[in-house]
């Protein structure tokens, strides 16, 4: 028995030696070339990434610039809005880059717990409303006026809408008055909750492809609009204060000025990353470009950011001043 034992050990030793001999590069040999961050003043920067591609585009670019120009160690954290805001107080999150209104969260964390502060606009304009697939707008041009919706209500019927027309709503985290709007505009529609952005986008994609009738809640900037350019339906015009009483809303959504929120301690620190976040500002077209790189061209976040940053040096330089 011991003979086999010895043979096995010898065999292993030979195997080991051969493998080591043709070893190749050792770990750590050239690792110092990887990080050129000499500054170190920045330290760690905890950036929340909320789950939609537009936000992912914001975060990709800010993280790229923070990493390459400021030498920060960026921790991107994939979180829903509510949890991200919660993280301001516990020190787990430094910044949220694209906030859609969310007066409830502002009240709770900015004026209430005082763990967060505003850090200015992103430059993006958030538009919310009811949209129809392009084929429908072309076939029935008058459908983009809300007053003709009742005329077509029967066409929007589905197995879910209980005999009325279906108005499809998406992810519950988004701002919506749709149920009140349907009642107050006396529309013969029922709000059906798709429950997620994925479901909503897929519904519009199918509707356009198969020429189905569909009207639903949607918003821009959104990468999907460059695949299927949905058409917005005009609701009664928004005037300041017309949405003051949530139960009595009978007007369109306001144009949201998307803004940035940071944790109080981050704002007080002299981290260059805070300055970057505060200065960060770009247009809907900019965001759509990067979002398209990510969602349709399937680039990684970093590659998409690099592509945009390389082409827009002047804008990036303005953020770094």
């Amino acid at each position: 028995m011991s003979r086999h034992w010895r043979a096995g050990a010898a065999g292993l030793a030979v195997l080991g030696l051969t493998l080591t001999a043709c070893g190749g590069a050792k770990v750590g040999d050239s690792s110092s070339a990887g990080s050129k961050s000499s500054g170190g003043k920045c330290g760690t920067f905890n950036l929340a990434v909320n789950p939609w591609v537009g936000y992912e585009a914001d975060a990709a670019v800010v993280a790229y610039v923070a990493q390459h120009d400021l030498g920060c160690t960026v921790n991107k954290k994939d979180l829903k809005e509510e949890i991200a805001w919660q993280g301001f107080g516990t020190g787990e999150v430094d910044a949220v880059l694209e906030n859609w209104g969310h007066d409830d969260l502002k009240k709770k964390y900015i004026t209430g717990q005082k763990t967060a502060v505003e850090a200015g606009s992103t430059g993006n304009k958030g538009i919310i409303g009811w949209y129809v697939p392009p084929w429908l707008a072309k076939a029935h041009p008058d459908i983009t006026n809300w007053e003709s919706l009742n005329k077509y209500a029967a066409n929007f019927k589905t197995s879910e809408s209980g005999g009325k027309g279906q108005l499809l709503d998406g992810d519950p985290s988004y701002v919506t008055n749709d149920a009140a709007l349907v009642t107050n505009l006396k529309l013969n529609f029922k709000v059906v909750y798709a429950g997620s952005e994925t479901a909503l986008i897929q519904a519009f994609r199918t509707a356009e492809k198969n020429k189905q009738w569909l009207i639903g809640y949607f918003y821009e900037p959104q990468w999907f609009l460059s695949e299927v350019p949905l058409v917005k339906v005009n609701l009664p015009k928004y005037t300041t204060g017309c949405d003051a009483d949530a139960a009595k809303v009978a007007c369109d959504y306001p144009v949201y000025d998307l803004d940035k929120i940071v944790s109080t301690s981050f704002a007080k620190s002299d981290s260059p990353a805070y300055k970057l976040v505060k200065n960060f500002n770009w247009t809907n077209d900019d965001q759509n470009t990067v979002a398209k790189y990510i969602a349709q061209d399937k680039l990684s976040d970093d590659a998409a950011a690099k592509k945009w940053v390389d082409a827009n040096k002047d804008k990036v330089d303005a953020w770094l001043k």
Binding site: M1, H4, W5, A9, L12, L15, G16, L19, T20, G23, G24, A25, K26, V27, G28, S31, P51, W52, V53, E56, K77, D78, L79, K80, E81, E82, I83, Q86, G89, T90, E92, D104, L105, G112, Q113, T158, S159, E160, L168, D171, P172, S173, A179, V191, V192, A194, G195, S196, T198, A199, L200, Q202, A203, R205, T206, W223, I294, A295, Q296, K298
Partner: protein, 658 residues
């Protein structure tokens, strides 16, 4: 519902045999009659944005926890310590296999070392066949271009399983030794397994912060119950006589436990470990919602841009990991058994071979620690992109060619079955539906089941979500009926043919562990954002369990009985319907029970694809602070529905067996 009635009807006494289905039918007819008269009254509906006092109170509780986090001693000295320990554990395992640590740009052990170790351990605890499978599976992660993601998932899963076992096995032993502990623990375990994770995800990150600790604790809450239950069961099933023999030899209680009970229940405990690992892997995508690194994140992110291919590729890696871990632990369970009954032929060789293998694995670990080629998986994952594009093509083809068919199917089931049934449930007065549920519980499951049903109905009304609960109940029942149909068809087929079993079983395993997020997008394209999509998702998840249970039941029908029937001139159809299915009655009831519970666990996912009702309430509660309390109440309602049906079907199953 008919399935339950059928399955429970034939019992010992002849009088009952006739009367029980009659009573059930009478209850249903009475319900229909009263519905016609009382339709639309006292339905307790609540609009999507409306709250009740309970919901507001739960909101306040949640807010006050958040506000006092930094001053409360419970946080400072209890939760924070737990968090620290678990966080360190996770970071340590990650630095070993998945994440760079300190100045090292790569983890301590590279791909070659991990593959070597996994192969060696699989061989040592199992056999060489599972070792080969493990090596192939782990190499596949690298080829898919998902090495680091897979290792992150493995690190989290291992940490969670470790914590779950450290807590679960002692608790299980305790529950196995004491009836009282067992009785107290069972409702808690039910609660942990049926409460939708979405409900406690946000509060957990408040208590344990965002990061590894929260992800592990979320997973442990869901994965520990099987370990506890199965350990308790294992201890209980050690034969009475063995324990008595030890007693008569004068063994103390401690000796009895260490020398008799634990060794004799080892095999079943390993099954518990197996179930814990599977449950932990089921949480991978959910944990990704609170920033847990790994494959789950890839799936969730890919779906933001509806990238089915990438999501499928990552989902496939989860399936492969689950299958490898399942087969290895199963082989380990078999080995502990065969070791007990006598050593194999190669026992003499085992020790030196184990030593040599260990040295080889260590050499590989050393290499992967030192050299770049063994540390970072070579290549750029071309296999992965091929898999992704194939999945994309398939999904697009299905959408293009089956669209009309699937729409017709959806409309037929929705209009023919779901809508009428849902109307019956939601438009009847609440007390009428409640009375029907209690009566059915009492008739099918006995007096205790009736009392449980009454308590659950009362609490459901208390949650303020009665109408939503009834909508969810309607979809759940329809999904369970479809699950049982699939279960009987495939289960009988697999039970009668070993070949069919061998072909179908891997698909069933895959359907159970593939993250539902992956197949939801094609389903959405085929069926739209509707309740039917949610039902189909529930069936895909629940049917494998039902099929497996029924297949086992059919196979266990004694061969001599089937032979006797054949020689009496029965054809296959008669054998199935007159012999095999009736004799597998208790398997059918168990399958109904498990089918229902699994369907219920998909309710929240259903909320993401158009099911509305309770599932949507939970999702909305997770996303909007103001709706938090309502989401929690909806989670409770799901637990209540689960407990009610579990108790009724279990009591019914006990009656069938009696």
């Amino acid at each position: 519902m008919a399935a339950v009635a059928d399955a429970t009807a034939p019992v010992a006494s002849i009088r009952q045999k006739v009367s029980r289905p009659m009573v059930v039918a009478a209850i249903l007819v009475l319900w229909l009659l009263l519905f016609a008269v009382l339709r639309g009254r006292q339905t307790l509906t609540l609009a999507a944005a409306d709250l009740t006092g309970l919901h507001r109170w739960l909101n306040d509780v949640n807010d006050s926890i958040g506000a006092n986090r930094n001053s409360n001693p419970v946080f400072l000295y209890f939760f924070n310590e737990i968090r620290l320990v678990i966080d360190n554990l996770v970071t340590f395992v990650q630095s070993l296999i998945s994440q760079p640590s300190g100045s090292r740009p790569v983890p301590q052990i590279g791909w070659l070392g991990v593959v070597g170790l996994v192969g060696y351990v699989s061989w040592a605890v199992g056999n060489w066949r599972v070792a080969l499978l493990a090596v192939a599976g782990f190499t596949f992660f690298g080829l898919q271009g998902l090495w680091q993601e897979s290792m992150d998932t493995l690190a989290l899963t291992l940490s969670a399983v470790l914590v779950a076992l450290v807590i679960g096995i002692p608790l299980g032993v305790w529950a196995g030794l004491s009836d009282r502990v067992n009785r107290i623990m069972t409702p808690f375990l039910d609660f942990m397994q049926t409460m939708p994770t979405f409900v406690y995800l946000a509060p957990l990150t408040l208590i344990f912060l965002i990061g590894g600790a929260s992800a592990v604790i979320t997973t442990v809450i869901y994965a520990a119950p099987p370990a506890i239950r199965i350990t308790a069961y294992a201890i209980r099933s050690v034969p009475e006589t063995t324990v008595e023999a030890a007693d008569s030899l004068g063994a103390t209680r401690a000796q009895q436990l260490v020398k008799v009970l634990l060794p004799m229940s080892k095999r079943t405990v390993v099954v518990g470990v197996n179930q814990t690992i599977m449950a932990a892997l089921a949480m991978v995508t959910i944990a990704a919602l609170i920033d847990a690194p790994g494959l789950g994140k890839t799936v969730v992110q890919a779906l933001q841009s509806l990238d089915v291919g990438t999501a499928f590729n990552a989902g496939l890696a989860i399936v492969v990991m689950a299958i490898v871990l399942d087969r290895v632990t199963t082989a380990a369970a078999v080995r502990t058994e065969s070791r007990r009954t006598g050593e194999g032929r190669f026992a003499k060789w085992r020790r030196p071979l184990l030593g040599a293998g260990g040295v080889a694995a260590l050499v590989l670990v050393y290499l992967s620690h030192t050299y770049v080629w063994a540390a970072e998986f070579p290549g750029d994952g071309t296999v992965g992109s091929h898999i992704a594009s194939a999945a994309d093509t398939t999904s697009t083809w299905l959408q293009d060619h089956l669209f009309g068919l699937t729409n017709a199917l959806r409309d037929a089931v929705t209009n023919g079955l779901l809508n009428p049934f849902q109307t019956l449930l939601t438009d009847s007065p609440w007390w009428l539906v409640g009375a029907v549920l209690v009566a059915l519980g009492a008739v099918l499951g006995g007096r205790r089941a009736g009392v449980t049903a009454a308590v659950c109905v009362g609490l459901l009304v208390g949650t303020g979500l009665w109408s939503d609960s009834m909508t969810t109940l309607a979809s759940t029942v329809v999904a369970t009926i479809l699950t049982m149909l699939a279960g009987v068809v495939f289960g009988v087929w697999m039970g009668r043919s070993t070949l069919a079993d061998r072909l179908i079983r891997p698909t069933l395993d895959a359907a159970q562990v593939m993250p539902p997020f992956v197949y939801l997008v094609p389903f959405l394209a085929l069926f739209g954002a509707t309740r039917f999509t949610a039902i189909i998702a529930g069936v895909v998840y629940a049917a494998p369990v039902a099929i497996k249970i029924i297949a086992d039941g059919v196979r266990n029908v004694s061969e001599s009985t089937v032979e006797a029937a054949t020689s009496a001139g029965c054809n296959s159809w008669q054998i199935i319907t007159k012999v095999q299915l009736p004799m597998a009655r208790s398997a059918l009831t168990l399958a109904t029970n498990q089918g229902l519970i699994y369907v219920l666990s998909m309710v929240v996912l259903g909320g993401l694809v158009g099911a509305g009702a309770l599932g949507y309430d939970v999702v909305a509660g997770f996303s909007q602070g103001e709706l938090y309390g309502k989401g929690l109440a909806a989670g409770l309602a799901i637990v209540l529905l689960g407990v009610m049906f579990d108790r009724i079907t279990q009591a019914a199953a006990r009656r069938t067996r009696a």
